[in-house]
């Protein structure tokens, strides 16, 4: 997809500032997404050296995974569960962070994604998120 189309997808997310946690789509298909959160969209909330809280990574995973559903279905979803969430790196995590998320189960209305969050290509956080399409 072109950058402008990717930006339209992000703009189309139901979550808006100050609760938008995706900055850029690196690549996206009907089954997977790679995206980045640099925190540049919320400069008053994060500074470049801010420690990334667990809730930020969970929400980043949910919103980035939701982009696949936005692309395919153009419907709003709600997180119904997180499973097997594991923090891999126990040092402080700083921006930018990136995610690779893949659709692993599509049994409407529940869609399950497996994701990994990376800092400089090092896995720091992983798990699964289930999204319920309302």
């Amino acid at each position: 997809m072109k950058d402008s189309q990717c930006q339209l997808l992000i703009d189309g997310l139901s979550q808006q500032a100050p609760f938008r946690y995706v900055d850029r789509i690196i690549s996206i298909s009907d089954e997977s997404v790679e995206a980045e959160l640099t925190a540049s969209i919320l400069p008053d909330r994060f500074v470049a050296t801010a420690v990334v809280d667990t809730y930020v990574m969970l929400e980043f995973a949910a919103q980035a995974s939701g982009l696949i559903l936005s692309k395919k279905k153009n419907q709003r979803g709600l997180v119904s569960s997180f499973n097997n969430i594991e923090r891999v790196l126990f040092n402080e995590i700083h921006f930018p962070i990136s995610i690779r998320s893949s659709l692993i189960s599509a049994r409407a209305p529940f869609y399950i994604f497996r994701f990994g969050i990376y800092v400089n290509n090092t896995l720091v956080f992983k798990g699964e998120v289930s999204i319920f399409l309302s």
Partner: protein, 146 residues
């Protein structure tokens, strides 16, 4: 149950404190906490515009902070740590402005009752209710730098 002084036992402060009160039973390790969601909270503007719902990740944060306060009380100070693992968290129904959450948690390993033997990892089973209705459940493991 003992009311914990959150200014002593939680590093998180406003606007990122997601428990209003935490009660702790030293004999059983049981934790009870509550959190009221004021309609003026900033995140409601974006989640979602025109239809405010408390993000599920902040309900997880409520549970984690309630458990963290009790852990820190056992240690005697506000330690640093992380939410290491969420085996499963299930959101049963949406939480909206003016809802008050009641969090009930219990350590699965009872070493919490013996502060001298505190491990670096503690596992908790949590239930979140509004009135008497369960709205979320989770099993969390917190890591602490003791």
């Amino acid at each position: 149950m003992k009311v914990l002084d959150l200014n002593l036992y939680l590093k998180q402060s406003q606007p990122f404190r997601f428990v209003d009160e935490v009660l702790y039973c030293e004999n059983t390790g049981a934790i009870k906490a509550k959190r009221f969601f004021d309609p003026a909270e900033d995140f409601f503007k974006g989640h979602f515009p025109g239809e405010p719902i408390v993000p599920g990740v902040l309900i997880v944060e409520c549970m984690a902070q309630a458990c963290r306060a009790s852990l820190n009380y056992s240690v005697g100070r506000a330690t640093t740590g992380f939410l290491a693992t969420i085996e499963r968290v299930k959101f049963i129904r949406p939480v909206r402005p003016n809802d008050e959450l009641f969090i009930e948690a219990k350590p699965i390993d009872m070493s919490l009752a013996e502060p001298a033997k505190l491990p670096r990892y503690c596992q908790f089973r949590c239930v979140v209710k509004i009135a008497n209705e369960s709205i979320a459940k989770a099993t969390l493991i917190l890591y602490q730098d003791v």
